[in-house]
């Protein structure tokens, strides 16, 4: 197996049954594995709801570690749409030239630093600082805040052992509470202040609602972005011809980003709580149980994608669900796409080749499936383009 490969563990179950079973903390999940089923289920918010007990739609479940409802993520239409309308313009700012210029400066400076080192551990020394620094742009907070976030490590809700960790979650919650108090005392142009002054149903957003949006922003874009960045570098290390192609045809970077998101599927799955007895792909599903929309499996569905297990850098038709689908599609997708696009263009212009030295894979255990999502660590050497 190639070092950068992310195998598809779902193929047999997807083709033969269309679903898999996962017992998550005694709240079992039926994992939906086919693209069409995933899309239809994501769209049907009445039968497959997000506005369940906070944390329950996440797999693994977070009900034991948090009470704060993440917004708009754990709300259903039509209220979902009202919240989404408030936050959407803020999350589209990465389309602005000035935002992209700042992001480019950050990424170029990080790549330049790495070119001077013989050994770079990509997860902790590259992807984590990149993600944290870029987040200061999304939140419009001082760059120095990124030092605090870097010190938290790669997971916001999980510590070294991968188990859900309430202590770790409290670090984030306490931090966000403090930031909200700061923004109330001294409003600025940061995301906390903007949310606090936002109108919702004839009133301002409450502190708890602002906290819900902020927790989502921190948690949703953390290990997903880190895995996407790390996996991209591992791939480009093994496929120097792709780096060369991005150098010669920078215009394909946008398509390459979509293909990376499809192939890497940084978020394996997202759950929904079933509100009535129903069936998906002829399989009965009971009310008050959970299903999951398995983006990672759907993105390898051979009924839709030709050569699904290959990275086709300029794949032209690519109806992937790597950023989710329908009402709840990824709010941070605009930011994530810009990060990856600028990263690819920067690597193509500055880096001649990347050598993988050693690595340890990060494998998610999902009962009947084991899925590689990225790396716990991967040491590389970046060689300058000469």
């Amino acid at each position: 197996m190639e070092k950068s490969e992310l195998p598809d563990p779902f193929e047999k179950a997807r083709v033969e049954k269309g679903f898999g079973k996962l017992n998550d903390q005694d709240d079992p999940v039926t994992m939906l594995l086919r693209l069409k089923d995933v899309r239809k289920t994501a769209h049907n918010y009445k039968t497959f709801q997000s506005a369940a007990q906070p944390g329950r739609i996440v797999v693994p479940s977070e009900v034991n570690i948090r009470d704060t409802r993440q917004i708009p993520f754990e709300v259903d239409p039509p209220v979902h749409g009202e919240y989404r309308a408030i936050v959407e313009p803020w999350f589209k700012r990465p389309l602005q030239a000035e935002y992209q210029e700042k992001l480019k400066e950050q990424i170029e400076s990080l790549v330049n630093e790495c070119l001077n080192n013989d050994r770079v551990e990509v997860v902790n020394q590259f992807a984590l600082p990149l993600q944290s620094r870029a987040l200061t742009l999304l939140l419009n907070t001082p760059f120095s805040e990124s030092e605090t976030w870097i010190s938290w490590g790669t997971h916001v809700f999980r510590s070294e052992g991968e188990a859900l960790d309430a202590d770790k979650a409290n670090i984030l919650y306490d931090y966000i509470d403090q930031q909200i108090e700061r923004a109330i005392a001294k409003p600025g142009e940061d995301m906390y202040s903007v949310l606090l002054s936002s109108d919702f149903q004839g009133r301002k957003l409450s502190k708890e609602e602002v906290k819900g949006v902020m927790v989502l922003t921190f948690a949703g874009g953390r290990d997903t972005v880190i895995n996407a960045v790390t996996n991209s570098i591992a791939y480009l290390a093994e496929y120097p011809e792709s780096l060369e192609r991005l150098r010669k045809e920078p215009e394909i970077a946008g398509k390459a980003v979509e293909e990376f998101i499809r192939y890497f599927s940084p978020l394996t799955q997202m759950g929904r709580v079933v509100t009535e007895d129903t069936a998906v792909c002829e399989h009965a599903i009971k009310a008050d149980t959970r299903v999951s929309l398995c983006w990672a499996s759907a993105n390898r569905d051979a009924a839709v994608f030709e050569n699904p297990n290959e990275i086709v850098l300029d794949r032209k038709i690519n109806p992937h669900v790597g950023f989710g689908f329908s009402h709840h599609n990824c709010l941070g997708a605009t930011h994530a796409r810009q990060i990856l696009k600028i990263l690819l263009n920067t690597l193509a212009t500055k880096v001649g080749s990347i050598e993988i030295q050693d690595y340890k894979e990060n494998i998610e255990s999902l009962d009947e499936f084991e899925r590689k999502v990225g790396y716990d660590r991967i040491n590389v050497k970046f060689n300058k383009l000469t």
């Binding site: 069409k36 239809k40 398509k255 980003v257 979509e258 690519n318 109806p319």
Partner: protein, 102 residues
């Protein structure tokens, strides 16, 4: 060279000229309201949904299977719906009128 007219949800009419690339890219470059083109044109985001004028359907053709699958779950979709990232600009599109869905 093809002239393509977009009618936005607030009834503004914008006529643009193009010779290559996708209709979505032309609209995004010119800031047509309601055409976001988030995915850059690979048919994964459905943020470039337009309704083709019935008389222009013979110029644009109907949606491909993958495109139709995306549109199937859009509540605004009808038989004249297309994702305009899948419309390549060429002389054959000259004069088409597209109503922006969003």
């Amino acid at each position: 060279m093809a002239k393509i007219t977009f009618i936005t949800s607030d009834n503004e009419s914008i006529t643009l000229e193009g010779s290559s690339g996708s209709v979505m890219a032309l609209a995004v470059e010119n800031g047509v309201k309601g055409i976001d083109g988030d995915c850059g044109g690979v048919c994964s985001c459905a943020t470039c949904h337009v309704h083709v004028s019935p008389e222009d359907m013979k110029k644009t053709g109907t949606a491909s299977e993958i495109e139709a699958d995306m549109l199937e779950l859009d509540d605004n979709a009808d038989e004249f719906s297309r994702l305009c990232c899948q419309l390549e600009i060429g002389d054959h599109l000259d004069g088409v009128v597209l109503r922006v869905a969003k």
